[in-house]
């Protein structure tokens, strides 16, 4: 072991190589479950650092786990087999906007929200807005192909990537794609790398697409006395020629929890609310908001609220943001899922979740980006209660199955990581998963890049309790 550590030290400053126990423990976790102690943490600050780490690791067969700010909800950066955590977050942040080309070139360490702020200075925007965007690095977003509320209208991270620079597992530099919207030169390796969860190499630079920033936004809140109607209203809106930028859903449990936590004037008797944001030109919004209001009323919303001032609108979005902290007050452990279904199946999925909740006697609240079918059923539990966690594991497994049965997917935006890998075959089939594995084997013959993720290990099952 010492051999490879001293090999690392040859070309990288010792201040960037952390071996103290306290430091190693500090990179043993992310925002999901489990902790695994790495032997070393290397804080890469240049392309050369990454090349050196990968060459040494490849030569000595040591696993490498790229990590941004560790906000991952699926275990992406966890060093499950020990080895090297490659901290990319201390790389000097570079954000170079080219307004004439409507693109931005960024370092892997760039904070997602900072990219959007830099774009806004030129009247542009970087649309993907995962809820951790003020913390997360673009490197992590690219690896996990992150989404966010605006995904409904604008798409997710992969829809904004034009080109990448990647260090291969063997320590070679490649560039994929470029700086143009149209580019059909060869196979699309860019799309392959985005969302590959660090299994194919380390991204060291990205060129991203920007778009004009909409000049105005309009918020609408619709109130429903049953969940099915809310689901129908969402589908109806989307098939009426209107594409809102956000359509967020909250069930009654969420509404009441938020109101108990920090009262925001939400209707506590409602079974569900849908919060809509339209964006575009003021004149267009004036027409669209009326259309949306009409649709909501026709389909059976008990009330629609159009905030008159920015303050009132902010209050509604603030309430939406309070869901996570509010539910954290009920029970300490939150298993946040992101199984996603075709939009028309939202009401069916809601029914299935209710059944699962009753069957396993677990507490589940549902909120999320309903407009794109990406619900977040959150299971509230206590990971110290082993018996409860067993029931939670069963409930989560059944939610995955339900999503797949309805033509959906295991993960809309969080990624597979360690948590969902046991269910991959369920969705992809044996051959589908094998083809994916063959790509991985060809890129990374020694399997050093982020092993233990995406692909299930022999006999691996979903485990949410510590031991």
């Amino acid at each position: 072991m010492e051999n490879w550590i001293s090999a690392l030290q040859l070309n990288i400053s010792e201040t960037q190589i952390l071996t103290e126990v306290a430091d190693r423990y500090s990179y043993s976790f992310d925002a999901s479950f489990g902790e695994y102690l790495p032997e070393v943490v290397v804080q890469a600050k240049s392309k050369e650092d990454v090349i050196h780490v990968l060459k040494v690791a490849n030569q000595h067969n040591v696993p490498v786990y790229p990590r941004g700010q560790g906000t991952c909800l699926s275990g992406g950066p966890l060093p499950v087999h020990g080895g090297i955590v490659l901290d990319m977050s201390k790389w000097p942040e570079k954000i170079e906007v080219s307004p004439d080309d409507l693109i931005v070139t960024v370092s892997p360490s760039a904070i997602t929200a900072n990219i959007n702020s830099a774009a806004e200075e030129h009247g542009l925007m970087y649309a993907p807005d995962p809820s951790s965007s003020k913390v997360s690095t673009i490197g992590g977003n690219l690896a996990e192909n992150s989404g966010g509320p605006r995904g409904l209208k604008y798409g997710v991270t992969k829809d904004f990537v034009l080109g990448l620079e990647l260090i291969t597992p063997e320590g070679e530099v490649i560039r994929t794609g470029g700086r143009t919207i149209k580019n059909v030169t060869g196979m699309d390796l860019t799309k392959l790398i985005v969302g590959s969860e660090g299994a194919l190499g380390v991204i060291t630079e990205a060129t991203l697409k920007l778009m004009p920033k909409p000049p105005a936004v309009q918020t609408i809140m619709a109130v429903f006395d049953d969940v099915r109607t809310a689901g129908k209203a969402i589908s109806k809106t989307l098939t009426s020629g209107i594409l809102p930028s956000k359509m967020e859903f909250m069930d009654q449990a969420c509404i009441r929890t938020v109101e108990n936590f920090k009262p925001a004037g939400l209707p506590v008797d409602a079974e569900a609310i849908v919060i809509i944001e339209l964006d575009g030109h003021k004149e267009a919004l004036a027409i669209e908001k009326e259309q949306v209001q009409k649709i909501m009323e026709e389909i059976g919303a008990t009330d629609t609220i159009l905030p008159k001032t920015q303050e009132e609108a902010d209050k509604i979005w603030y309430a939406r943001k309070q869901v996570s902290p509010a539910i954290a007050k009920i029970k300490p452990t939150i298993v946040s899922e992101d199984a996603t279904v075709p939009r028309s199946k939202i009401p069916d999925m809601m029914d299935r979740i209710l059944e699962i909740k009753q069957k396993h006697n677990v507490e589940i609240v549902v909120f999320g980006h309903a407009g794109d079918g990406n619900l977040h059923p959150n299971v509230l539990c206590d990971k110290r209660d082993k018996e409860e966690m067993k029931r939670v594991e069963l409930a989560v497994e059944e939610m995955f199955q339900a999503a797949i049965d309805l033509g959906g997917t295991l993960s809309g935006e969080h990624g597979i990581g360690t948590m969902k890998s046991p269910f991959m075959e369920l969705e992809l089939g044996e051959v589908g998963l094998d083809m994916m594995k063959r790509i991985k084997d060809a890129w990374d013959p020694n399997n050093i890049m982020n092993p233990g993720k995406i692909f299930p290990e022999k006999g691996q099952k979903l485990v949410l309790s510590d031991e």
Binding site: V21, Y25, F29, V41, Q43, G70, K134, V135, A328, P332
Partner: protein, 439 residues
């Protein structure tokens, strides 16, 4: 009870479970920014506390990360899960303190600081007077020349230069224990003088009383009051801090007052959390709760009473460095800015990152000098870019640190650090009621 269970209780293990490790605290943590590793972030520290409490790691791993924490609590303001980081930190400090075999010089210095320097009423005047004598007698100049100040413990040489000129002992003695001008008074107020404030910033305390009187209040200075205990708690001396809390609760119960006012963000943050020190339902908990409801910062009460007009223009551009404990623990954010905006002629230019700690953090700048200076230098960059002539603060620690920052930047003479109360006092405060009685 097993020793692990005992440890878990002491270290507030239960509170660590609330952390979902989302990492939202990372962008606001000054030490995560300057020390560049997760180990020195709130999430990293909570994780280490959890590891230790679960018996997975040795207590030693906590020592450095916990001691390097400023305790600025910026993380608690952004935490979406409402994790009680303050209580985790204090528990961890307590455990670290008991675990470590301290090096002798540090122990000597800490004992001096905590047993003699901060807690008693007697020391306040003594220290103030000694400092005054030192300044007036010319010893200061000689000592500076001979570099004698370098021998003083805890990097005192850096701080000694920025201690303000102090009043004579005679002046100190002149201060009364009760002030009233307007009858009936608008409110009955007990003034918590604070120890550092009363020794080093005696003038500021005088101005505080002046502003309260101008607000039409009756002001009482309870004699038996003592140190708030914040610095003790932040250094893992929990038992001592509880004793001090009891002494203060008792001292301020003697007269029926409407408010207990302080002018030090750090002290105020401690005072409003006194009830957390006692078991719920206990007699002391009840008494503490009554105490806590009356505690307010001077800026809050001035805004609330709204009895003063500022008649003398102050033609300056100033910036405001909020006290972290005032922002993140007391939640007092707007009142200081509201008051500054009342001063005619004054322009307030806000910092880009007001919530970023200045690195003073109680005794942090003495005990962790190098780390503190890295943070201060970042703060000063922000301060200098406002091109303000004055940095306004609301806490003695921040005030001294800002003075030190100005000294380090070499802008002494061009820039000044000032307590908000002193700036308000310069602006010709006149009670609205005074006008009425005259008119």
């Amino acid at each position: 009870m097993s020793s692990l269970q005992e440890l878990q209780q002491k270290i507030n293990y239960e509170k660590t479970i609330d952390c979902v490790q989302c990492g939202y605290c990372l962008p606001v943590c000054p030490t995560f920014e300057t020390m560049e590793r997760e180990t020195h972030s709130p999430r990293g520290r909570i994780n280490l506390v959890k590891m230790v409490a679960e018996g997975k790691a040795d207590i030693d791993v906590l020592e450095d990360p916990i001691e390097k924490c400023l305790g600025c609590m910026a993380c608690t303001t952004v935490c979406p899960s409402n994790v009680q980081y303050g209580q985790i930190l204090e528990g961890a400090k307590d455990v670290v303190e008991q675990n470590k075999q301290k090096s002798k010089p540090q122990k000597g210095v800490e004992n001096f600081l905590f047993d003699s320097f901060f807690p008693s009423k007697g020391w306040m005047d003594t220290l103030g007077n000694a400092t005054w004598l030192y300044q007036k007698s010319g010893v200061q100049k000689v000592a500076r020349k001979l570099n004698l100040t370098k021998i003083a413990p805890l990097n005192m040489e850096h701080f000694e230069k920025v201690i303000p000129d102090l009043p004579s002992p005679k002046e100190r003695k002149k201060r009364a224990n009760r002030y009233i001008s307007k009858r009936p008074a608008t409110a009955k107020i007990a003034f918590f003088t604070g120890c550092v404030m009363d020794s080093m910033f005696f003038e500021t305390n005088k101005n505080t009383i002046h502003l309260l009187v101008k607000s039409g209040a009756e002001v009482i200075l309870p004699k038996q009051q003592t140190c708030c205990g914040a610095l003790h708690a932040h250094s893992g001396k929990v038992d001592e801090s509880i004793e001090l809390a009891k002494a203060n609760i008792k001292a301020f119960e003697e007269e029926q007052v409407d408010y207990i006012i302080n002018n030090a963000g750090g002290c105020g943050a401690r005072l409003i959390e006194y009830h957390h020190l006692f078991e719920e339902g206990s007699e002391w908990h009840e008494r503490a709760k009554k105490f806590v409801t009356k505690v307010k910062d001077i800026t809050q009460i001035l805004v609330e009473l709204d009895q003063i007009e500022y008649t003398k223009p102050v033609h300056k551009t100033v910036t405001y460095q909020p006290s972290c404990h005032m922002t993140n623990v007391q939640g007092v954010i707007e009142p200081p800015k509201q008051l500054l905006n009342k001063i005619p002629g004054l322009t307030l230019k806000e910092l880009k990152r007001p919530e970023f700690c200045c690195g003073s953090a109680g005794t942090y700048n003495m005990l962790q000098y190098d780390e503190s200076m890295k943070i201060l230098d970042m703060k000063m960059e922000d301060v200098c870019s406002t091109k303000a002539s004055d940095v306004v603060t609301t806490n003695p620690g921040c005030l001294l640190q800002m003075k030190l920052g100005i000294e380090r930047e070499g802008t002494t003479g061009e820039m000044e650090a000032v307590h908000i109360v002193d700036l308000l006092a310069q602006a010709g405060p006149v009670g609205k009621w005074e006008k009425e009685t005259r008119g």
